[in-house]
């Protein structure tokens, strides 16, 4: 956190060399005001464009935040922070995982009241750990044939009615059902998940089925990060009762169900946070930026 203060003040430079850590530039409110950044190309996921998602989110946020501008964190629903009201900044896609360049501000930029520079961002970017996606191969499959002729497949109809197939690169697992639908898990990014799903489809094609690649959709994304200080979970569950559930006898972490964005966070005493339930990467980042100031409030030294 001290590193933030030592950085030179932002001048809206579009060049990435000015950035110390990508995280800071992503979520700094300063960067979005008339800096004239060119929007970065967005990775298309073939079903719901991330671009459309972003625009929709921005519109929602702009509509939602207009009436509550100037009221830090008083909304009953989410722990909204002052700087997180600058919606266009937090919903991003061009983040470290793919291009590593600046966030985009697509769409009309309504100038909100500028957030104070003191409301720093966390400087921590959650890393994605798992992506679950589905795709429809568009034809009925004979699972026995697939299990017989593929090296990397296992099929035990008594236990589970699908073939479990694995590939080495990207290291993922797929569940292939006889209806032709497939679930792909284990990838670390949206693009990897898509590539892996395409490889599975290609294997099925080579086995003689007329496989297509229809309706690829990311169903769930899991991210994790470390805030590097211990957290008083007992305090957190007392003040955020309606969102938190902490049962140390059952599970050592606190389960925080954020309403906006709709993400479930597992918060541990060590400071590690797991975020899950996202459909797009931006939701994970936004959820973490929402929770970080709350966690800082429960950081305690003995």
């Amino acid at each position: 956190m001290d590193q933030n203060n030592s950085l030179p003040p932002f001048q809206g430079l579009p060049s990435p060399q000015g950035a110390m850590t990508p995280g800071i530039t992503m979520f700094s409110p300063m960067i979005s005001y008339g800096s004239g950044l060119t929007p970065q190309p967005v990775q298309n996921t073939n079903s719901l464009s991330i671009l459309e998602e972003q625009q929709r989110q921005q519109q929602q946020q702009q509509q939602a935040q207009q009436p509550s501008a100037g009221l830090p964190g008083t909304s009953g629903q989410t722990p909204q922070l002052y700087h997180s009201q600058t919606g266009p900044v937090s919903t991003t896609t061009g983040l470290p995982g793919s291009t590593g360049l600046y966030s985009t501000s697509i769409g009309p930029m309504t100038p909100h009241t500028p957030a104070t520079p003191a409301s720093e961002s966390s400087g921590i970017v959650p890393t994605l750990q798992n992506i679950v996606s589905t795709v429809n191969l568009g034809c009925k499959l004979d699972l026995k044939t697939i299990a017989l002729r593929a090296r990397n497949a296992e099929y035990n109809p008594k236990r589970f009615a699908a073939v479990i197939m694995r590939i080495r690169e990207p290291r993922t697992t797929a569940l292939i059902f006889s209806s032709g639908k497939m679930v792909c898990t284990g990838a670390k990014s949206e693009e990897e998940s898509r590539l892996a799903a395409r490889k599975y489809a290609r294997v099925v094609q080579k086995l003689g089925f007329p496989a297509k690649f229809l309706d690829f959709k990311i169903q769930n994304m899991v991210g994790s990060c470390d805030v590097k200080f211990p957290i008083r979970l007992e305090g957190l569950v007392l003040t955020h009762q309606q969102f938190s559930s902490y049962e140390p006898e059952l599970f050592p972490g606190l389960i925080y169900r954020m309403i906006k964005p709709r993400i479930v966070l597992l918060i541990f005493v060590s400071g590690k946070v797991v975020l899950t339930g996202a459909k797009v990467r931006a939701e994970i980042y936004e959820a973490f930026e929402n929770i970080y100031p709350i966690l800082k409030g429960f950081r305690k030294t003995t």
């Binding site: 001290d2 590193q3 030592s6 990775q43 996921t45 995982g97 793919s98 017989l148 002729r149 593929a150 090296r151 990397n152 590939i167 690169e169 990207p170 670390k188 990014s189 949206e190 693009e191 990897e192 998940s193 898509r194 590539l195 395409r198 490889k199 290609r202 294997v203 080579k206 086995l207 590097k228 200080f229 211990p230 957290i231 008083r232 979970l233 007992e234 569950v237 007392l238 009762q241 309606q242 902490y246 049962e247 140390p248 006898e249 059952l250 050592p252 972490g253 541990f268 005493v269 060590s270 400071g271 030294t301 003995t302």
Partner: protein, 444 residues
């Protein structure tokens, strides 16, 4: 009914009488005996009578037998725990509500009993009666994870919230279970439960401050605190020699496995504080810290501040040492920045100046020689107290770096072919499967 005007289709006679055969009215011709018409059965309305069968045979609905038994079990548990009638009524309401739900109506009797226990548990929590899930599991004689599953299911169905119960509230009730008053054990081992619970509470509060409690199951900590409190109240050789196992046997409580680790962790914390006692000359070890527990707990706040200060001074000394080594090869500018940082850092007790100075130095000259430790030092080692899971962090396998993947790359044929069996392999595999299934059917 008379059969005036009817003629028998068989013989044409008009001599037709009413004949009740098996309570069914029939019109029969006397002369030839043929049945002319069969009566009310044929006259029943289509689709059955107006009154349905179940309603005509209905008896007054009795509540389900298992529901009654379940409610009795709830009352039983409440009486064992000696809770107030308010809690009992609340538990009964919850049980009735949850029982009707589809997740609980068609389950095993064991699960229904667990539901009864969970209803009591949640009612106690809602009325601020301190109780742990461990106690309920013991009462129900069931596995705690099972009970936990039923509990969470029930909470979702009933859509209620239970306030969080503090560990310290549970201690007094827990300590009363221990049979170590003068009636049960010899004099040198006996202890009054009020005094014992008071000291145990102080120990648990200290444990809570030093990150031993958060995220852990509460009962092993309570057990560890009780054991240490008992030992320290009268640290004679009898008590000090008794292990946790023997202590639990003596007090007739069931030992909890994690309690041994908690004892070690608590003793470590006590050692760190014990070192700050001004009248202690020799070094404090785990073996002799028990004698000092009374003093430590009495002055624990002062000792805490002193320990933090000592720790910081030690860190600064460490820093200036390494800084002195580094500064031999550095320019002036970075050192000036780090000096001002040290000054600001002294004011607060939280910020650790060392890593930042090191970080600054690294960024300043980018000299690889100065990175003597690993790239991500464990932050837990730099503070006085840290959660044990941070201090003994698991070594994670090194994550492979995220490559720049677009998702639209070309997929090479050779790669896909590596996942497909050759025809020979397919034949071998099929043969093996056949042999395996033959031998299986041969056996069975």
């Amino acid at each position: 009914m008379s059969a005036a005007g009817l003629r028998c289709p068989g013989c044409g006679s008009s001599n037709i009488v009413d004949d009740d055969l098996y309570c069914q009215a029939q019109l029969v011709c006397v002369d030839c005996g043929s049945v002319v018409s069969e009566g009310t059965l044929a006259d029943d309305p289509v689709g059955g009578t107006d009154v349905s069968y179940s309603r005509t045979t209905e008896v007054t609905r009795k509540p389900c037998l298992n529901l009654i038994k379940g409610l009795e079990r709830v009352k039983e548990i409440c009486r064992i725990l000696r809770v107030s009638s308010e809690i009992e009524d609340l538990a009964l309401t919850h049980f009735r509500q949850a029982y009707e739900h589809e997740s609980f109506i068609n389950v095993t009797l064991q699960r229904k009993e667990l539901l009864a226990g969970c209803c009591v548990f949640v009612s106690c929590r809602q009325r601020d009666w301190p109780i742990t899930l461990g106690t309920i599991s013991c009462l129900l004689n069931a596995d705690q994870t099972l009970v936990g599953g039923v509990y969470q299911n029930m909470m979702k169905i009933l859509n209620i919230q239970a306030p969080f119960i503090n560990v310290t509230d549970v201690i007094e009730a827990h300590v009363q279970e221990y049979k170590i008053s003068t009636q049960h054990v010899p004099e040198e081992l006996a202890e009054d439960s009020k005094v014992l619970s008071k000291r145990a509470v102080a120990l648990v509060e200290l444990a809570g401050d030093s990150w031993i409690v958060t995220g852990r199951k509460p009962l092993p900590i309570v057990m560890a605190a009780t054991y240490l409190a008992w030992q320290s109240l009268n640290p004679n050789k009898h008590r000090l020699r008794l292990s946790l196992d023997k202590f639990c046997q003596l007090a007739k409580v069931q030992k909890r496995k994690p309690a041994t680790t908690r004892i070690t962790e608590l003793k470590e914390v006590l050692c760190k504080l014990g070192r700050e006692l001004p009248w202690v000359r020799e070094p404090v070890t785990q073996n002799d810290v028990v004698r000092l527990v009374g003093d430590i707990l009495e002055h624990r706040h002062t000792l805490l501040t002193r320990a933090l200060r000592t720790h910081e001074r030690a860190k600064e000394a460490d820093c200036t040492q390494t800084f002195a080594l580094n500064s031999l090869t550095e320019e002036v500018a970075p050192s000036q920045i780090s000096e001002s940082r040290d000054q600001t850092a002294n004011a607060s007790s939280v910020v650790q100046p060392c890593p930042n100075t090191r970080g600054e130095n690294q960024e300043g000259d980018g000299d690889e020689n100065h990175q003597s430790e690993d790239p991500e030092p464990n932050w837990g080692k730099r503070v006085l107290f840290a959660p044990p899971c941070v201090l003994h962090a698991k070594r994670r396998r090194v994550e492979r770096p995220v490559q720049n993947v677009t998702g639209d790359e070309e997929i090479s044929d050779s790669e896909i072919d590596s996942y497909i069996r050759s025809p020979q392999e397919v034949r071998d595999f099929a043969q093996m499967q056949k042999m395996a299934s033959c031998s299986d059917s041969g056996k069975s």
